[in-house]
């Protein structure tokens, strides 16, 4: 079989991140810091895949993906904190003692075990998305109203998590994690392991999303984006499809948050404010929405540039992001990926989408 450029990119991607970087790390050429940084970027890429599914493919602008990300993150954070507390032979996490709380709140109880925490960090965002999504989509809220309502949700949840009474650490969030499954989090080996697990999960998430968008279900999602009424008259229950996409996107957000927390060592409400969700949308818009690779590339590239810029000229970052955004909207609406494809076609590589447009098989 002939190797298509798309496949080649996948293989190069995995080869570089799964072999070159870890080996470089073991040889001492790549610092643990940058390994850990990439691990976190992968988390963002997973969350971006969710956004691409709901926004890029279904055309629903959901501005609360960071909230789902944090729900997953908090679930994992609660587990890590309970473990750290037990390690120090205390009964309650420190912030609770400060807040004069004497018994562990009921909703902390399930997070003693690793497996329940794992399951809950996917289930909680999915369940919340199901309930919210059901009411939003049943009322046929669309377009800009959808964006506003999800944004309002993100803000209200942010304010809720800020409060000490929520018993989730308030402004300071959850931190002081020590171990995960007995591995000490600060050790380079653990960090490399988490990096590899995150990479693997990114590949799995990408594979699942790929299957989804290429199934008939995925085609219905795109049909909803193109012409929602027609989907209804073609006897598809639009509500069910939108809801399913929204729930899957939220679960991806939760998965990303769950992987993010042990690598960062902290989760605060600051991660779920409105700005965080907007930033996630921007990764996808810049990378190329309606294209899974675009979402991944966008999340990785923007965060890379972000890390670089904030260390070199901290004040300039927002201007650069803004410029990039304007350029994308004006000149390459298919994002970085569209730009690459344009360049590719100039030098004679025929891409999938072009073959599609001209109608040849």
């Amino acid at each position: 079989m002939q190797l298509k450029p798309a496949k080649l990119i996948n293989i190069l991607f995995i080869l570089f991140f799964a072999v070159v970087l870890p080996v470089g790390n073991m040889l001492g050429l790549v610092s643990v810091n940058s390994i850990s940084l990439w691990g976190r970027y992968f988390c963002f890429a997973i969350a971006a895949l969710g956004i691409d599914l709901i926004w890029g493919y279904t055309g629903i602008m959901s501005m609360c993906q960071a909230f789902f990300f944090c729900l997953g993150g908090y679930c994992m954070g609660m587990h890590l904190l309970l473990k750290a507390t037990a390690l120090q032979q205390q009964l309650l996490p420190e912030f609770m003692t400060w807040n004069d709380i004497t018994t562990l709140p009921w909703f902390w109880e399930p997070f003693h075990g690793f497996v329940p925490a794992l399951v809950l960090s996917l289930l909680v965002p999915a369940a919340v998305a199901f309930v919210i999504g059901y009411f939003i989509f049943r009322s046929r809220i669309k377009g800009v109203y959808m964006a506003i309502i999800t944004q309002a949700l993100a803000l209200s949840m942010y304010l809720l998590f800020l409060r000490n009474e929520t018993n989730l650490g308030g402004t300071n969030g959850l931190t002081n994690f020590k171990t995960l499954l007995g591995f000490e989090l600060h050790k380079p080996g653990t960090k490399l392991g988490l990096y590899l697990v995150t990479l693997a999960m990114l590949c799995v998430a990408y594979g699942c999303c790929y299957k989804i968008v290429h199934s008939k279900f995925g085609k219905v999602l795109q049909a909803i984006r193109d012409s929602e009424p027609r989907v209804g008259y073609t006897a598809y229950r639009v509500l069910h499809y939108k809801l399913a996409a929204f729930v899957v996107a939220a679960a991806l957000g939760g998965l990303a948050g769950m992987l993010y927390v042990p690598q960062t060592g902290i989760i605060t409400p600051g991660r779920m404010d409105v700005k965080a969700s907007v930033e996630m949308l921007m990764w996808v818009a810049l990378g190329g929405r309606g294209n899974l690779k675009g979402a991944v590339i966008g999340a990785l590239l923007v965060n890379c540039v972000y890390s670089y810029c904030t260390s070199v000229f901290p004040q300039g970052w927002l201007f650069i992001l803004g410029m990039l955004y304007i350029l994308t909207v004006l000149y390459f609406d298919k994002g970085f990926l569209g730009l690459f494809e344009k360049i590719g076609s100039k030098i004679g590589i025929k891409t999938n989408s072009e073959r599609y447009a001209t109608g040849s098989k």
């Binding site: 795109q222 984006r225 209804g232 598809y236 229950r237 098989k361």
Partner: protein, 251 residues
């Protein structure tokens, strides 16, 4: 009787858009509805397919009432709608457009996990052949010409295998040759389905109106009869004269 409508009325902001005493359609009948702009023709179709909710009246389709059902439920009962402005999925290929339309289980889990039922591929190819889109099957639907989009939408509606097809202005924006082909297609379809067609183009109406033509004016049914009778009726001519559309006179 495939469709029976009684005392159907709807008004928008105090203006009576439709006030239909009685309308009925036999199975496998092709009915053409004509009437000046704003006569309530499209509104009638909107109500039949569940897009607009009527204020009063009853609709019985295939022995079951459809008032109060959602678009999806009505579509599942077997009413397919082609809109005046072509409504296809521009981002998908012609093949995918037809695939989504084809009659099969349409719930989320089936769409996600199950394979395409046998025979669908052949069905789609046969339909593409019928509407002359075989060479365009893998083109993006958004890149089709206006006439081709009209045909694609007809194909989408037919592939749902409905008992009743509601076709709103199929010949609009088509050349004479294309319109004639569309007319032939509709006549052929009426051998298996009930069909209601809204049309302005009198040449086209003449071609397809093998049985009855209904004339709607100001939301009311003015008359019903064979094309020759309708076209020579003084009231119908009066309705069309004095308006831009004076085509009846020329015939």
């Amino acid at each position: 009787m495939l469709l029976e409508v009684n005392e159907l009325a709807v008004s928008f902001g105090g203006v009576q858009a439709l006030n239909l005493q009685h309308f009925q359609l036999e199975d496998r009948e092709l009915r053409v509805i004509i009437g000046p702009n704003g006569a309530g023709k499209s509104t009638f179709m909107d109500i039949l397919c569940g897009k607009t909710k009527p204020d009063t009246g009853s609709i019985v389709f295939n022995g079951k009432p459809t008032r109060g059902l959602t678009e999806v439920q009505i579509a599942e009962m077997g009413i397919g709608r082609k809109f005046q402005k072509p409504s296809v999925f521009p981002g998908l290929s012609v093949y995918e457009n037809m695939l989504l339309a084809t009659r099969m289980k349409k719930d989320v889990f089936t769409s996600l996990f199950s394979r395409m039922p046998a025979g669908v591929q052949e069905k789609i190819e046969a339909m593409a052949e019928r509407v002359g889109l075989t060479s365009a099957l893998h083109k993006q639907a958004g890149a089709l010409s206006h006439g081709q989009k009209q045909w694609l939408e007809i194909a989408i509606v037919v592939l749902q295998d409905p008992r009743l097809l509601l076709i709103d202005e199929p010949a609009a924006g088509m050349s004479d040759r294309e319109a004639e082909k569309t007319g032939e297609l509709l006549l052929e379809l009426s051998k298996q389905h009930g069909v209601i067609v809204i049309e302005h183009d009198m040449h086209f109406v003449k071609q397809i109106a093998t049985k009855l033509v209904s004339v709607l004016v100001n939301g009311k049914l003015l008359m019903e009869g064979p094309f020759e009778e309708v076209k020579n009726d003084q009231r119908v001519i009066d309705c069309y004269l004095g308006r831009v559309n004076a085509q009846l006179e020329k015939l």
